[in-house]
């Protein structure tokens, strides 16, 4: 479709369109990838358009219409206070996707900086940073995120900070190992011999080669962040109950689910499953594509 729409434009436009067309064809060949892309499009659409266009508000209480099963008027029913679950679902999609993006950004930046400092620094700097990371890695991730949220005070913001902290060591170690590997390659040695500055070597000769591993990691972290935010909301440390976050919506639906009002807890759970699975599929495919060992497999398939 993109190819037809831009035909006749300048050469650059045509090339861009054919790249987009190739990307579309690539996605279409892989059912799992197509499915994951569709999920992302739908969830982003609901989070952006659905929230603006839908007739109900996510927080408006309407006790007369409490606990109504799904209908045309309320596609996902209403909760115990008559709030429209569909409106809450859409807003929850926004919260989860945004939280995932913030965690990926924070984790990649802070972890990446530590990784660079440890990777190019002296031995002592390196092992000092590694000990700090060890202390963070000594916790099971969700437990550490819980500790941070307890410390900073419950809420989505502390939860996101806590989750980001748990991802920092993974980013840092990944980048550090990659840098140590790349540092030993001949082209870096050549750059050193030519008298390039340290900043330039890191920017031009090391980081570009390390970026693919960070990309794969980020897709996986995105799914992990969404799931963990919901888990924290579920135990009462993340979003607090009227707030339309998927995890706290499930907690809210817990008491109704066993008496027949299943819809309050079912839909946010389906949203979580869809979002996290999509992220995991992207991480898996990115690994297949960018991981040197996987390149052979891709070449064989096409």
């Amino acid at each position: 479709m993109g190819r037809v729409a831009t035909a006749g434009r300048v050469d650059r436009g045509r090339r861009a369109a054919s790249t987009a067309g190739r990307a579309l064809a690539f996605v279409a060949r892989d059912p799992a990838l197509a499915f994951a892309s569709a999920i992302v499009v739908v969830l982003v659409g609901l989070a952006v358009v659905g929230r603006l266009a839908w007739q109900y508000d996510s927080l408006t209480v309407d006790v007369e219409n409490a606990l109504e099963p799904p209908s045309w008027d309320h596609p996902m029913g209403t909760d115990g206070n008559g709030r429209d679950v569909f409106a809450r679902f859409n807003e929850g999609a926004g919260i989860s996707l945004l939280a995932g993006a913030v965690v990926v950004g924070l984790g990649a930046i802070v972890g990446g900086l530590i990784g660079v400092v440890a990777g190019i620094g002296r031995r002592l700097t390196d092992s000092a940073w590694m000990r700090v990371l060890d202390a963070i890695l000594a916790f099971p991730p969700l437990i550490l995120a819980m500790a941070v949220t307890v410390g900073l005070g419950v809420g989505v913001r502390s939860a996101v900070l806590g989750i980001a902290l748990t991802t920092v060591p993974y980013y840092a170690r990944l980048l550090r190992t990659d840098i140590l590997r790349i540092r030993a390659l001949p082209h870096v040695e050549a750059a050193v011999a030519l008298g390039a500055t340290r900043t330039r070597i890191v920017q031009r000769h090391i980081l570009p080669h390390a970026s693919s591993a960070m990309l794969i990691q980020s897709a996986a972290v995105f799914g992990y962040a969404i799931l963990t935010l919901a888990a924290l909301g579920f135990v009462g440390l993340g979003a607090q109950i009227p707030e339309p976050e998927w995890g706290s919506m499930i907690t809210d639906g817990l008491q109704y689910a066993l008496t027949g009002q299943w819809w309050i807890a079912v839909f946010p759970g389906l949203g979580l499953l869809a979002a996290v699975t999509a992220a995991n599929v992207f991480a898996d495919r990115a690994r297949d594509l960018l991981d040197p060992r996987g390149e052979i497999a891709v070449a064989r398939e096409t």
């Binding site: 000990r131 700090v132 060890d134 202390a135 963070i136 890695l137 000594a138 916790f139 099971p140 991730p141 969700l142 437990i143 550490l144 819980m146 500790a147 941070v148 307890v150 410390g151 900073l152 005070g153 190992t177 140590l180 590997r181 030993a184 799914g223 799931l227 919901a230 888990a231 579920f234 135990v235 009462g236 440390l237 995890g247 499930i250 639906g253 817990l254 689910a257 066993l258 299943w262 807890a265 079912v266 946010p268 759970g269 979580l272 499953l273 996290v276 699975t277 995991n280 599929v281 898996d284």
Partner: protein
């Protein structure tokens, strides 16, 4: 070898100390004064001041840390004001339930992953393999607390096959004589078949719920390892010697695929520890995880802190043991690495 082992032990020790500092500081920067939390918001300023002094909150943070940690090592894990008991006996009473649930969840995850991974790689049928990969994605992507709730709605409320979320035993069944605290084991030892069946029945749904994420994780790992190993030339040699496909898989491929899985044991333990907090809440399982969620709701963080510290200890120790075990099994790991 000895030097490597010693440095690994030392770095584990450092990690535990670091972790204890991290968790202590995190729970002390909490905006509210613990004394206010304990006495309630209507308490007089005088009472709050007295309690602040009694717990030692006015002392410098490092003194507080030292007091807490040295107390922890001596077995004084703090006092839960909302429950009126000391934390150690609380956790001690609740831990067996968590351990029993975790054990069954682990067995489910491991056996499930093993069977499915073999199914996917044995004949390499694309359809079966695709289905198995889908299952591993499902296991990793499904929120455990939500899956537990759905299983209760469908299989307990809907079809009545399993008991509802009412703990470890039906109210009419007396718990077996307390030996280990694991009901199924105690019932088996004492020959109490009624309690054994009932305890097992109550374990099915929570154990599957808790085991789902580790199963997805182990399945992905085992499948990839088995595929890698099955492409190795030595397997072709084994097969060409006339050894059956099954024996080749069971005797030659599996042991080689297991080692990388062993190194993931620490991660699985982390999943089980963290998952128990979520799953126990859904099933009203009277374990340590439920104690943590209760503590959060009551803003009584002494139990939470003890649980966090304890998980960090266990987690580090298991990871250390895994490293030592894999070095003992695989000589390649023992060799000094060039990078790192």
């Amino acid at each position: 070898m000895i030097v490597q082992l010693a440095s690994r032990v030392v770095s584990s020790l450092l990690a535990v100390i670091g972790a204890s500092i991290v968790s202590f500081l995190l729970l002390r920067i909490a905006p509210s004064n613990p004394a206010t939390l304990i006495l309630g918001q209507f308490a007089s300023q005088e009472a709050i001041d007295n309690l602040t002094e009694e717990i030692g909150l006015e002392k410098p943070i490092w003194t507080q840390y030292w007091n807490y940690i040295s107390g922890f090592v001596r077995g004084d894990w703090g006092y839960s004001y909302s429950l009126g008991t000391d934390v150690r006996s609380l956790l001690g009473a609740k831990l067996p339930a968590t351990i029993e649930l975790g054990l069954y969840a682990f067995v489910f995850a491991f056996v499930g992953a093993l069977v499915l991974a073999l199914l996917a790689t044995y004949r390499r049928r694309p359809l079966v393999d695709g289905g198995v990969r889908g299952l591993s994605f499902l296991g990793l992507g499904i929120p455990p607390f939500w899956f537990g709730l759905m299983s209760l709605v469908l299989l307990s409320e809907g079809l009545g096959w399993f008991p509802g979320p009412d703990g470890r035993l039906d109210s009419g069944v007396a718990p077996p004589r307390d030996i280990t605290g694991l009901y199924t084991l105690d019932a088996l030892v004492t020959g109490n078949w009624a309690a054994f069946g009932d305890a097992l029945w109550h374990l099915v749904l929570p154990a599957i719920t808790l085991g789902l994420a580790p199963m997805g994780f182990l399945l992905r790992l085992l499948r990839a390892n088995l595929l890698d190993v099955s492409r190795e030339p030595f397997l072709l040699v084994v097969r060409s010697k006339g050894i059956s496909r099954w024996t080749a898989f069971a005797r030659h491929a599996l042991p080689n695929a297991f080692l990388p899985t062993l190194t993931a044991a620490g991660l699985v333990l982390g999943q089980l520890l963290a998952g128990s907090v979520l799953v126990e809440k859904v099933f009203n399982w009277p374990g340590a995880g439920a104690l943590v969620t209760d503590g959060i709701l009551r803003q009584d963080f002494t139990t939470v802190q003890a649980f966090i510290l304890l998980s960090a200890f266990v987690y580090v120790i298991v990871n250390l043991l895994v490293d030592i075990a894999s070095a003992a099994i695989d000589p390649r790991i023992r060799a000094p690495r060039s990078v790192g």
